[in-house]
Structure formats: structure tokens, C-alpha cells
């Protein structure tokens, strides 16, 4: 099954977060990673989910998420068309005898040493999930004490979040158009919120 990145822009409150996660949870889709942080719009947060599931299941979920009050945008794509990055903090044993070797290993992964005390080092590394996994593997030889990972954040390579989960052309579903003309309540004087484009073709 393909791996997907699902990105949600929703109002910045726990209830909206709870409701959105509930929509995902209800479908029992295996979530590999979930991260949340402020979006570029004030008052909105962005949720990034990584999950492995059939295109159709992810598509159905995204359509349900789009209906939720407070969701500005819900998009998804195969993870292969996205840049994903994750931050990890790793506390690793640093025995004096192998200190230089450890620093070499960290340098190889561009990891930064944040703290060093009592025979341990706390390192920070940023990268794709496999990248972090390989660092973790190479640090195992030294003895990992603790790992904290942020969960992945992602952007599509095209610079926009294109929805790739609508039907393939063979199934000949017609494009489902967003508001045209805009509903009365969206026609009011412009606010600071730029209208998210719904790109569904």
C-alpha cells in the first residue's frame, strides 16, 4: 500500500484538533506520524499525517475532513511527491574511549551536539525518516538512552499542495468544482484569510 502525506489546515483550537483526529481514528488507518504547529495564517494550525493506506481510503478521509467546520484546507499526496522532514533528539552514551568515533558518526549525519554531560551526549538531527533511522542504527552501537522525534512535516515538491487523490482519469469522474460563484457568506469584504485554492483536477 502506498504511503501518503495528509496535510490539514484548521483553526487553532484543541477541539478542532480533536475532531480532525477523530475523523482519522474512526477509519482505523495506521498513522505513522502526526505533527502539529502553527500555519502561515494567524489563528490556524497545520497538521501533518503520514500514513500507509489505499488511495481510495485516504481520499474518502480527506473528503470527510474537508467538510469539518474549522478545516480551511485538507490535502494529500503520495509521500513520494513530497519533501518530508523530521527532527529527532537523541541521548546517546558517550564512553570516553569511543568519543571521537561517536562525533564522527554524528558529523556524518549533520547532527548537532546540544548537550554533553555525565558520559552522555544529546544530539539533534533533522532529515527524512529513513535518514533518521540510519543515524539511529549507527548510534545503537554506542547505546541509545532516549529518542524524541517530532513527527514529520511535509511540503509537496511542486511548491503547492496538490490533491492527488481524486479519481484517476480512467474512472472519468468529472472535476468537482469548488464555490462558483462564491456563497453569499464568503462574498463579504475580504479578510486576512486568503481563500485556499481547492485544486482537484
Amino acid at each position: 500500500m502506498p504511503r501518503h502525506v495528509v496535510t490539514l489546515t484548521l483553526t487553532e483550537d484543541l477541539l478542532a484538533f480533536n475532531r480532525a483526529v477523530g475523523i482519522v481514528r474512526r477509519r482505523n488507518l495506521p498513522i505513522e506520524s502526526l505533527s502539529v504547529g502553527p500555519a502561515e495564517l494567524r489563528g490556524y494550525q497545520r497538521l501533518t499525517l503520514l500514513l500507509t493506506a489505499e488511495d481510495e481510503a485516504v481520499d474518502r478521509m480527506i473528503r470527510q475532513l474537508r467538510k469539518m467546520v474549522g478545516v480551511l484546507e485538507a490535502t494529500g499526496c503520495r509521500s513520494s511527491s513530497a519533501i518530508t522532514r523530521e527532527l529527532a533528539l537523541i541521548r546517546v552514551r558517550a564512553p570516553r574511549a569511543r568519543y571521537a568515533q561517536l562525533l564522527d558518526a554524528l558529523a556524518l549525519f549533520n547532527a548537532i551536539v546540544l548537550d554533553e554531560s555525565a558520559g552522555e551526549i544529546v544530539a539533534e538531527v533533522t532529515g527524512s525518516e529513513p535518514f533518521i533511522r540510519s543515524l539511529v542504527r549507527s548510534l545503537e552501537a554506542f547505546g541509545i538512552v532516549e529518542i524524541v522525534r517530532s513527527g514529520a512535516v511535509a511540503m509537496t515538491t511542486a511548491g503547492v499542495f496538490a490533491v492527488l487523490h481524486d479519481r484517476s482519469p480512467q474512472e472519468s469522474i468529472l472535476p468537482v468544482r469548488p464555490a462558483d460563484p462564491v456563497p453569499a457568506n464568503a462574498r463579504e469584504p475580504a479578510t486576512s484569510i486568503p481563500h485556499a485554492q481547492e485544486m482537484r483536477r
Partner: protein, 567 residues
């Protein structure tokens, strides 16, 4: 009006502003400030139910009958949890209900206070939206939003949870009288305008189809698209199939009307679906009770799906053309685009497939005879509210619905106990009409306490009980698929005539066909609530029936041999 209002007074004021004149509820500790303010607002009629579930169903019934939001009120904790089934029912059937619940004071929230429950957490998946008002300065926005959200687009229930101390906070009316533009209103959403290409493509497919079928659902009723659908059907000669919630969206006696599809649909209706080369679905969601096994649903047909909710398009079955839009607008423009045509051959082919089934009832007090009497004596100005089970299917299929939106039932959730309280809501929405609440003996006992509400509030619902001494639909499944092991389906009933008498309601028992007409006439002649119990055959079954998981081509049309009673 004093300029300074409490939260409770403001809430009343806002309800009036939203056009509310009726609500169903039950007071309790955390909602007491609201009930304290209520007598100051005589424009708000409050119907005291006997159980909060009934408040939610009654609000739902009111909403379905009027197209306006139905309002129910409950206290925190058990009051709120009792609303849950009613909210889920409204959610599944896209009914605009606004539920207002009291909550413990803000300082007590999260401490397991007396009657504190996380009602937002409980209702998240069964409401269109839900919110807790954190301060009186938010109250006006939240209430106004709630009504917009409940009614806009695909309708649904919204819950507003208001802590007791917020109900007691004070605010100046001048500060909140003008609606503020709330943040979520800026969110662009699909407006219901269909794409021009979609309409053109759909019209092309309809013009090219030899055996097209129009399937219509609740969306047609919600969008008030009766005339448009009828015009489309008549112009194209497309036969019309109405889903359970689409019943009464198209006149039953119309020559193009075929009936209800699906698990208990008539064989010729399901066969028409299986033979069709095009299905035009408007305002329905291709529920599993309609499609049977989706892999074998309408194998020869391309499907055009019109729905207001983009998430419905292609959700259950793949479609050739999906059109997101309001059923009325889309149907009107479709009807304007297609070419006029007759399809007599196709209609004759379908009609040729109709055949009389060997009647499964013994005796003559059949559901059909009862429903015919109810119709013939009551006339067309009647609304029928059914419960869930065997009688629901009989009421759906055997009563001739001539008038739009005259049939009400819990379709998606299948909530037993729905009919009696929902009928109260329908009755209050349509005070000049006869409203029948038709239940089985099982479902009636789930909410029969509401007879007290009818008496206290003067709600003249006519209650009919189809009493067969069983949870009949479950018994039927046990008969067909579980070797006649009638596990926990025989159900004892009280003496309903005496029960009605205890409530001060006239009650009648009908045991043979000769008593039907006179009893129905007496029930209708009474100006108040009446209960009529019909002693129907114990093991009558609903035919035809598609076995669960089966395709629409696999109907069971008669009693399995093993099931013929020894008598």
C-alpha cells in the same frame, strides 16, 4: 428589554432572533439559569418531555417537517448523554437540530464535578459541529454560528454546551446585537453550484440511455426539489425509484413511480436497477441497505450522482459523473439541458416484471388493510411517522404518499423509539394535520413515556402499534438466517388500552379487520392523542428480502420451507 442581560437571557433573545418559537427539553442543575429566564420570553414555547432522548427526536421531527432548525435543551451529565441517540439519528439523516446543554461551572470543569460529563467529547462524531461557550462574550457568535451550520449545506445537528456560570454572566445587549462575522464563515466551501461540464455530461448520458432510472433520496426533500424532479422524470420518461428517506419526494400514484429499492424493495424495482444502463441518483448516498452487495449493484449502469456533499460522491459506488450541488438547482438545469423523450418500452419491461407475491399473512388483519384504512379515512392531509422494524417497511411500501414530505422515519441510524417523540415534533410543526406515529410493540415501549408529554402539552398524535408479540424484524432474521432460534425476540407488552387509560388517553384494540375502519374513524374524530393497538399476525414477514451481503438480484420472496408454522 433591559440593556444588561444574563447569559441565559441572551440565549433566549438569540433563540428568538433565530426564529425559534418552540423547543423540547428537560431542566436540571446546570441549565437552571436558562430555565429561570425562560418565563420572561413567552415567545419561546417549551415542551417538557419525559426523557431527553425524546427531546432530541421531537426536535428532529420538527426540523424534518419544517426545514427549520429544531431545538432541544438538556442539563449536563445524564441530560446530555440522554440526547446522544437523538443527535446520532439526526446526524445520520441530515436533520438540522440545535442542542443546548448546560455544563458545570467553568471552575468545576475537569474535576469530575456532580453531573459533569465531556459532552463535546461524546458527541464529536455524531454532530456536524459542537462547541463549548467559554465566556459570555462568545455566546452570541456561537449560537448564531450553530444555526447557520445546522441549516447550511447538508444539514445536521449542532451542540452548544454552556457552563452554568456563563449563563449567569452579564453582558450588554448593545455589544452583541449585531452579528459579527465569525472566523469560520470565511472558510470557502463548496457552495452547491454544479459545474457546467458536469451538467452537460450528465445530460449527454441521459439522452443516450435506453434504460435510465432516476433514484431519489432525502436530498430532494431537503432541497424542496419535488417539482424539478418531477419535471425531469416526465420530460425524459425516466422511471423513479425513491429510497426510504426519499419516500414522498415523488407522488406514489404517478405512472413513473416504481417504489422503494434495496433490501426490502419490490423485485421489479431492484430488477430495474440491475437492468438499467444509467442511474441518475439525486440526493441519496447509496447506503448499503439500498445497494446490497456493491460489487454487483447495477452492473450494467453508468452512474450519475448528484449530491450537496462532495464526500458522498463516489463514497460507496464508483460514479461516471459526480455533480456537487443543490438537488433543486442541479435537477432544474439538468431538466433544462436534456432532450424530451418517452421510454415506454423500458417502462413496460419493468412493469412486466411485477408480479403478485403469495401473501405471507394469514388472517385478514394485514398491515396493508390497516394502512389503507388509515389513508382512506384520514385523507391526504396526514403525516406518517414510522419507527424501525417490520412495520417500518410496510409503512414505507404500502401507504400511498401523495404529498411531499409526508413520511418520516429514522433511516440511517434505524433508531427504535423514534416514532412517538418525532411525531410530537411533526405534530407541533403541522398543528392542522393528522399525524400518525406508527410503531411496533418493541419500539413503542422504548419511548411510550411520551404519552404524558402529549397529554400535558395537548399534542394530538395518533399512535398506532402493530403488535405481533415479537421484535419482528429481528425474529424474521432469526427465522431466515439463524435456524428459527427466537433468542430474546418474544416481547411482552402491557395492556396498551389500560395503559392509555392511565394517561387519560382513549385506547383501542383492533383484533379483526371488521374493527379497523370504525376504530380509525373514532381515533381521528378525537381531538387529542389516541392509541390504537393492532393485533397483527405474530410471524408475518416482510417480503421480498435481500439477504445481508447479497446482491439486488437475490431476493427471498416467500417463506423458507422450514419456516412454515405447524398450524
Amino acid at each position: 428589554m433591559p440593556d444588561t442581560l444574563t447569559g441565559a437571557q441572551l440565549l433566549c433573545q438569540l433563540l428568538l432572533e433565530q426564529g425559534v418559537d418552540l423547543m423540547f427539553g428537560y431542566p436540571g442543575g446546570a441549565i437552571m439559569p436558562f430555565y429561570h429566564a425562560l418565563p420572561e420570553y413567552p415567545g419561546l414555547r417549551h415542551v417538557l418531555v419525559r426523557h431527553e432522548q425524546a427531546a432530541a427526536h421531537a426536535a428532529d421531527g420538527y426540523a424534518r417537517a419544517t426545514g427549520r432548525a429544531g431545538v432541544c435543551v438538556a442539563t449536563s451529565g445524564p441530560g446530555a448523554t440522554n440526547l446522544v441517540t437523538g443527535l446520532a439519528t439526526a446526524h445520520m439523516d441530515s436533520s438540522p437540530v440545535v442542542a443546548i446543554t448546560g455544563q458545570v461551572a467553568r471552575a468545576m470543569v475537569g474535576r469530575d464535578a456532580f453531573q459533569e460529563i465531556d459532552v463535546l467529547g461524546i458527541t464529536l462524531p455524531i454532530t456536524k459541529h459542537s462547541v463549548m461557550v467559554q465566556d459570555i462574550t462568545e455566546l452570541a457568535d456561537r449560537v448564531r454560528e450553530a444555526f447557520v451550520i445546522a441549516l447550511e449545506g447538508r444539514p445536521g445537528p449542532v451542540l452548544i454546551d454552556i457552563p452554568k456560570d456563563v449563563q449567569n454572566q452579564k453582558i450588554s445587549w448593545a455589544d452583541v446585537r449585531h452579528p459579527r462575522r465569525a472566523a469560520w464563515l470565511a472558510v470557502p466551501r463548496s457552495s452547491g453550484m454544479a459545474s457546467v461540464e458536469g451538467i452537460a455530461e450528465a445530460a449527454r448520458l441521459i439522452d443516450g440511455a435506453v434504460r435510465p432510472l432516476l433514484m431519489i433520496g432525502h436530498g430532494v426533500i431537503l432541497a424542496d426539489a419535488y417539482a424539478e424532479v418531477r419535471h425531469l422524470a416526465e420530460k425524459t420518461g425516466m422511471p423513479v425509484v425513491t429510497t426510504l428517506l426519499g419516500i414522498s419526494a415523488f407522488p406514489d400514484g404517478h405512472p413513473l413511480h416504481l417504489g422503494m429499492p434495496g433490501m426490502h424493495g419490490e423485485v421489479h424495482v431492484n430488477r430495474a436497477i440491475q437492468h438499467a444502463d444509467l442511474i441518475v441518483g439525486i440526493g441519496l448516498r447509496f447506503d448499503d441497505r439500498v445497494t446490497g452487495n456493491t460489487a454487483q449493484f447495477a452492473p450494467k449502469a453508468r452512474i450519475i450522482h448528484v449530491d450537496l456533499d462532495p464526500a458522498e460522491i463516489g463514497k460507496n459506488i464508483p460514479v461516471a459523473v459526480g455533480i456537487v450541488g443543490d438537488a433543486r438547482a442541479v435537477t432544474a438545469s439538468l431538466a433544462g439541458t436534456v432532450s424530451g423523450r418517452h421510454r415506454e418500452e423500458w417502462l413496460a419491461e419493468i412493469r412486466g416484471g411485477t408480479r403478485l407475491r403469495p401473501e405471507s399473512y394469514r388472517g385478514d388483519l394485514t398491515p396493508q388493510s390497516i394502512l389503507e384504512s388509515i389513508h382512506d379515512i384520514g385523507g391526504v392531509r396526514a403525516s406518517i411517522v414510522s419507527d424501525v422494524g417490520q412495520h417500518q417497511m410496510w409503512v414505507a411500501k404500502l401507504y400511498p404518499y401523495a404529498r411531499p414530505n409526508s413520511h418520516f422515519t429514522s433511516g440511517g441510524l434505524g433508531t427504535m423509539g423514534f416514532a412517538v417523540p418525532a411525531a410530537m415534533g411533526v405534530q407541533l410543526a403541522r398543528p392542522d394535520e393528522t399525524v400518525w406515529a406508527i410503531s411496533g410493540d418493541g419500539g413503542f415501549q422504548m419511548n411510550m413515556q411520551e404519552m404524558a408529554t402529549m397529554v400535558q402539552e395537548g399534542i394530538p398524535v395518533k399512535m398506532a402499534i402493530f403488535n405481533n408479540g415479537y421484535l419482528g424484524m429481528v425474529r424474521q432474521w432469526q427465522q431466515f438466517f439463524h435456524g428459527r432460534r427466537y433468542s430474546s425476540t418474544p416481547i411482552w407488552s402491557p395492556d396498551y388500552v389500560q395503559l392509555a387509560a392511565a394517561y387519560g388517553i382513549p385506547g383501542y384494540r383492533v383484533e379483526c379487520i371488521e374493527q379497523v375502519e370504525s376504530t380509525v374513524a373514532r381515533a381521528l374524530a378525537d381531538s387529542g392523542p389516541v392509541l390504537v393497538e393492532f393485533m397483527i399476525e405474530q410471524e408475518a414477514n416482510v417480503f421480498p428480502m435481500i439477504p445481508p451481503g447479497g446482491s439486488l438480484s437475490e431476493a427471498i420472496e416467500a417463506e423458507p420451507v422450514s419456516a412454515v408454522p405447524a398450524a
